[in-house]
Amino acid sequence: MAIATRITRIDRLTAVLAVPLLAALLLSVLSYRPNRIAPPEPRSLADVFDGGTVSAIIASAVLLTIVLLVQHRPAVRAAIVGLAVIIHVVLLGWGAQILMEGSAPAARVSPGTGFWLGFGALVLLLLDAIARLQPSIRARAALLVGTVAALAFVLRSGLLADLSLAAEYRGRSDAFHRATLDHLTLAFGSFLAALIIGLPAGVLIQRRRRLRDPVLNLLTLIQTIPSMALFGVLIVPLAWVAANIPGAASAGIRGIGMAPALIALFLYSLLPIVANTVAGIDAVPHNATEAATGMGMTGAEQLRMVELPLAMPVILAGGRIVLVQNIGLATVGALIGSGGFGTFIFQGIGQTATDLILLGVLPTVALAFLASAIMDLMIAMFRGQSQ
C-alpha cells in the first residue's frame, strides 16, 4: 500500500525522460574530426574529462534524476533544471576546449549524440516546469527576453568558441550578418506585404459571399505549388519586367535574387492571412454586431471597433503560421540568389560540410521559434481582454 502511494507520487515525465538523460552519459558526448570534412570520431565522457570530473558529472546527473522524480513544486523544478541546462552548456564549451588543446587548428569538435540527447531531455523538463508554473503574460514576455539575452550572452562570451560551428562563423561573420539581414527582409517583408493586402482582401470577401469561394480557391491553388517551382516560374516574367520597364532594374527587380523570392513568399502568405481574417470575423458573436449596427455604428466603425479587435486572435494565429512558414521557406530562396541563411545550407551541402549546413539551419530554427513565441504572446494579450 505504502509502496503504491510512493509510486504514484513519482513524477511521470521524469520517469520517462530519465532514460535519455542517463543514456546520454554513455554515448558520445562530443565528436572530433581532424579537419572539417573528415568523418567524425566519437568521444565519450571518459575520453574528454579526467576521472574525477567524469564521476562528478555522473553523480550529479543521477542526483538530478532522483530529485526530479520526487520533487513536485514547479518553481523548484524550473530552478534546478534551469541550472542543469547552464551546466550542460558550460561542460560542452569546456570539453571542446580540452579536445582542441594540442590539436591542429584545422581540427573540429562538435556536439555529439550524447550532448543532444541530454540537452533535449533537459529542455523538455524545463518547458514542462515552466508550463506548470502557469506564468502570466508579463512573466512569459520576461522569460522570452531573458532566454534571448542569455543566448546572446553565451554566444558573445566565447564559451563555445572552440566548437566547429563557431569556427565556421568566424570565417564568415560578414556573410553571416548579410544573410541575417536578407533572411529577415524576406520573411518579415513578405509577411508585412501579405498583411497589407490580405487583411483588406479578407474583410472584402467576408462581406461579399460570392467572391469568397473563388478567392480562397485561388489562394489554395497557389499554396499547392511547390516552392522551387514557384521560384522558377517567377524568373521569366520578372526578367522581362527588368529588361523592359524603365527603372525596374535599378529598383532591384531581376529574374533572380530578392524580388522573385519576396513575391513567392508573399503569395504563400496570403492564404493563411485571408482565410483567418474571414474565419475570425465570421466568429464574432452575432448579437455584438447586431448591437453595433442597432446603436448606429457605421460599417467602418463596426469593423474598427468591434469586428477586427474580436477577430484579432484568429488573424494573428494566421500571422504566426505565415511567419514560421516564411522563415523556413526563405532558405529555399538562396537557390535563386535571394541570400539568407539558405546560402550556408546549400554551400554546406555542396562541400559536404555539416557544420556549414548547421550554420544556416540553427539560426533559422531559432528565428522561427522566436517569431512563434512572440506571436503567441500577442495572441494571448488580445484574448486576455475578452475572456
Binding site: E290, A291, M295, M297, E301, L310
Partner: protein, 314 residues
C-alpha cells in the same frame, strides 16, 4: 409620439408584418406581445431601420424615419436586444459610453455620464465599471445593456426580449427597475416580449400580435377584462382573471376616509396585494399610507371584490 402608417413587411410574398397602423404615446411603455414568428421583432426593427418596410412608414414625432439618416437615427434611439450584445473586449464602462463616443462627446462628459448611469442602475461605478462582460452576472450584464441604451439620453428606447435570459427572481427585480427608471426619465419604451405577464406588469398599453397583425391594442385592464379575440383570451389565460385584474389596479383610487388598526399597505400597492394581506391577517379593512408613512385612509374588502368583478369600471 411613434406612429405606424399601414406598415407592411413581406418576405417572398408573405407578409411578416401586415398593414399595421397604430400610434404610441410619448412617455409610455408599450408592450408588444406575441408568439415567435408573429412579426413582433420585425416590427421593432423597422423603427430604427434595421429592416426597411415593404410599404407604409414609421413616424417619430411626425417625421418619416426613412427620410432621416440611418446612422443618426439609430444613435438617437436606445436599443436593447436579447442577450444584450455587450462587446466582450470592452469594459462595462466602455460599453456604456459607446454611443456618446460615436457622437463625439468629450471624454470627461462620457465618464461622468457612465458613472451616473451605473448609479441609476444601482451598480458601483468603481467596482463594476472596469469589469469585462464575462466577469458580470446575468443581472449585471442586463443592467449594463440598459445603461448603454440610455447613455445618449434617447427619447425612445426599443427593447427586444430584454429580460429573456434572466432567472425569475432577478427578472422581477429588473422589471421593477425598468418601471422606476422609465418613470424618472419619461422615455418612450417599446418592449417586445412573448410573456403576457411581463407585458401586463410593465405596459401602459399592450399590443397583442399574431401573423403580422395587431389582434388587440389596448390598456392592460381591457386586455384582461375584454379580450378581443380567443387568441388574446388564451394568452391572458382564463384562470385567475379577477385576481390578475386586481393585480393591475393600484389601491389609491379605491380609498375611503377612515381609520383602521394594524400595519398599513402602500397606496401604490395593487388591490391583489391588499386582498392578500386581508386574508393573511384576517382583517376586512386596511389602513393605507403613502411612501412617507402618512395615513391616507382605508381600503375595504367589499370595494376590492367589486373592483375585480367583470363589469367593474376600469
Amino acid at each position: 409620439m411613434i406612429a405606424f402608417e399601414a406598415l407592411t413587411k413581406s418576405y417572398d410574398g408573405r407578409n411578416v408584418v401586415d398593414n399595421v397602423t397604430a400610434s404610441f404615446a410619448t412617455g409610455t411603455i408599450t408592450a408588444v406581445v406575441g408568439t415567435s414568428g408573429s412579426g413582433k421583432t420585425t416590427l421593432l426593427r423597422m423603427i430604427n431601420r434595421l429592416i426597411e418596410p415593404t410599404t407604409g412608414c414609421v413616424q417619430i414625432n411626425g417625421r418619416d424615419v426613412s427620410e432621416l439618416p440611418e446612422v443618426a437615427l439609430r444613435r438617437s434611439i436606445g436599443y436593447v436586444i436579447q442577450g444584450y450584445g455587450l462587446f466582450p473586449h470592452w469594459t462595462a464602462a466602455r460599453n456604456i459610453g459607446v454611443v456618446p463616443r460615436l457622437l463625439g462627446w468629450r471624454t470627461s462628459e462620457i465618464e461622468a455620464r457612465t458613472a451616473e448611469l451605473l448609479r441609476l442602475l444601482q451598480l458601483d461605478p468603481a467596482q463594476i465599471g472596469p469589469r469585462y462582460p464575462h466577469q458580470l452576472s446575468g443581472g449585471q450584464a442586463q443592467r449594463i445593456g440598459v445603461a448603454r441604451a440610455l447613455a445618449a439620453r434617447p427619447d425612445v428606447l426599443l427593447m427586444d426580449e430584454p429580460f429573456g435570459a434572466l432567472d425569475p427572481v432577478i427578472r422581477r427585480q429588473a422589471q421593477r427597475d425598468l418601471s422606476e427608471i422609465q418613470h424618472q426619465l419619461g422615455t418612450t419604451i417599446i418592449l417586445v416580449t412573448h410573456d403576457m405577464n411581463e407585458a401586463l406588469r410593465l405596459g401602459n398599453a399592450i399590443a397583442v400580435m399574431r401573423d403580422g397583425r395587431f389582434e388587440q391594442f389596448a390598456p392592460p385592464s381591457e386586455i384582461v377584462c375584454a379580450p378581443a379575440t380567443p387568441f388574446v383570451a388564451e394568452l391572458v389565460g382564463e384562470e385567475g382573471r379577477a385576481l390578475r385584474l386586481l393585480s393591475l389596479t393600484p389601491v389609491g383610487p379605491h380609498l375611503r376616509t377612515g381609520e383602521a388598526p394594524g400595519d398599513p399597505v402602500a397606496d401604490t400597492a395593487s388591490l391583489s396585494d391588499a386582498l392578500s394581506e386581508m386574508i393573511w391577517t384576517g382583517r376586512d379593512r386596511l389602513p393605507v399610507a403613502d411612501r412617507s408613512g402618512r395615513r391616507l385612509g382605508v381600503i375595504e374588502r367589499a370595494d376590492i371584490l367589486s373592483a375585480g368583478r367583470r363589469a367593474a369600471p376600469v
